[in-house]
């Protein structure tokens, strides 16, 4: 039994995968707490998909792993900022703006990629994730981004909380709400880029939504949601990696499915699975 448990961690790629999972869990839960209470799931999904455009540009122009990740961050942040700007200036509902930009960026990415045969392989790793292929360089980058996300969230916690809870009063109290909202979307973008290494752009939303939503069923304070959410993310990563190692399934989806199971369990066990149903409903259907 002990061997069965320790075996996988003899491999360095498994160790790196675990570290990656830890980083994704932290960034995912901290940002995810806001995503869940604010109903930004669709936004997270769009940002993750859009990041592919930046990655594609970097790849086509001959950039390496670092350039590809930076390209992804730039595209993701651009999407976040554009959504906020477009929905205000063109008086579009935010989800309409998201839908438009989602399509624009993702379409552009596929267009670029369709020109390049060799990218198909890397494309696959972007779309479904390639956690077992995480390099040390990737880890450093993910770590740096996670530190940035944590620092920003911690520093601007009051503004983020106030604006999320009551934007009108926040504005009346002198919080620059538009800036804070854009900042939050940027955090979502950063978290999405951190997470897509692990589970791929398609399932990024799961890492932002599932652990925080699970935590939201169990505790009712933002800092606790972030803490418990991180725990759920780490647990899902560990279980997912074991499954991948022993049952030969893709690691990313295994992690995501574990997180979903954790949510269902929490929903059933909490006995007050009605704590956040409305927001969750919008998050899931979004």
């Amino acid at each position: 039994m002990a061997e069965w448990l320790s075996d996988p961690w003899q491999y360095e790629f498994m160790q790196r995968a675990l570290w990656a999972g830890l980083l994704v869990s932290i960034a995912g839960a901290v940002v995810g707490a806001f995503v869940v209470v604010k109903g930004l799931a669709f936004m997270s999904d769009a940002v993750a998909h859009s990041s592919l455009a930046g990655a594609a540009v970097a790849f086509v122009t001959g950039g390496g792993s670092l350039a590809i990740n930076i390209g992804a961050v730039i595209a993701a942040v651009m999407t976040a900022v554009s959504v906020s700007t477009l929905s205000r200036t063109a008086r579009l509902r935010e989800d309409t703006a998201i839908g438009l930009l989602f399509a624009a960026f993702f379409g552009f990415a596929i267009l670029l990629i369709s020109r390049s045969r060799s990218f198909a392989l890397d494309l696959n790793s972007f779309i479904v994730g390639n956690i077992l292929g995480v390099t040390t360089e990737d880890l450093w980058l993910m770590g740096a981004l996670t530190v940035i996300v944590l620092a920003l969230t911690l520093f601007f916690y009051r503004e983020l909380l106030f604006t999320s809870y009551d934007p009108v009063m926040a504005a009346a109290s002198g919080v620059p709400v538009t800036l804070v909202h854009m900042g939050l979307l940027t955090l979502v973008a950063l978290a999405a880029v951190i997470a897509f290494r692990l589970v791929g752009v398609v399932l990024v939303m799961a890492m932002l939504v599932a652990p925080a939503a699970t935590a939201g069923l169990l505790v009712r304070r933002m800092p606790m949601i972030m803490l418990i959410g991180t725990g759920v993310g780490v647990l899902s990563t560990v279980v997912g990696l074991y499954s991948s190692f022993y049952f030969d399934v893709a690691a990313g989806p295994a992690i995501v499915m574990t997180a979903i199971v954790a949510f269902v369990l929490a929903y059933l066990l909490s006995g007050r699975g009605l704590a956040i149903p409305r927001r969750l409903a919008t998050a899931v259907s979004g």
């Binding site: 009051r158 909380l161 999320s164 809870y165 009551d166 009108v168 919080v175 505790v219 009712r220 956040i276």
Partner: protein, 267 residues
Amino acid sequence: MDTPAVEVTGLTTGYRNHLAIEDITFTAASGRLVGVLGPNGSGKSTILKSLIGLLPPWYGTVRVFGQPPGRARNRMGYVPQAEEVDWDFPVSVRDVVAMGLYERKLGLDRFRRVKEAPIIHALERMGAAQLANRQVGELSGGQQRRVLLARALVRDPDLVLLDEPAAGLDATAEAELLRLLRTMADEGKCVMVATHDIQGVYDTFDDAVLVNRHLVSTGPVRASLTDHSLHQAFGRQLITLQGIDHHEHHVEQSHEVRGGQEHERTR
């Protein structure tokens, strides 16, 4: 007390390209309890939003303690009318009241713990101290209202702006609120309340601002709330105040504004 708490001059503003109020001029002094009256859609909420700085003026000026609203934020407390607050949000009552202490600064002192005393004191004033650790989502409508009032009062503001604060409060709470507002005015604060309780304003408030998109009348309640001015503001609706002296006030329509434009001040 030279500069009035509120000084609004020729204020015209609205939402996007929809004109809401036009050429509103009035002052409100410290130490006064001021009622903002008018029919639905007459611009009461719009005036309060302009005072707190949520709506910039199109024309005219708004001064709070002699400064633009943005500069006087720390001296104002505000409770909006139909607050779009998300009551399911995972915060406690204490967290919500603490938001009233927000200050815009970027120093590291932002990490200092929020002081407990003013929060508890504000909740006590609203008779809600025992709710401090509850989740806001677990409260009744009236209790939520009290929490929002506590948030507005936590900074001990010099100008208090309340938009129909009594909506949803039980009779006791409403009477208590009124007493509290009276006390605050007597302490030297300016308290402005948008309300539909004209009789209540007439009986217990000091001043009134009567609007119907334009300014109809303003000044001490006995002078500004007359048969004539109420008729002007509310149109055909029959509103009769108890205790109003019809004859006296025909003579004394001093602060009324005819046609919403010219100010006739014949004291």
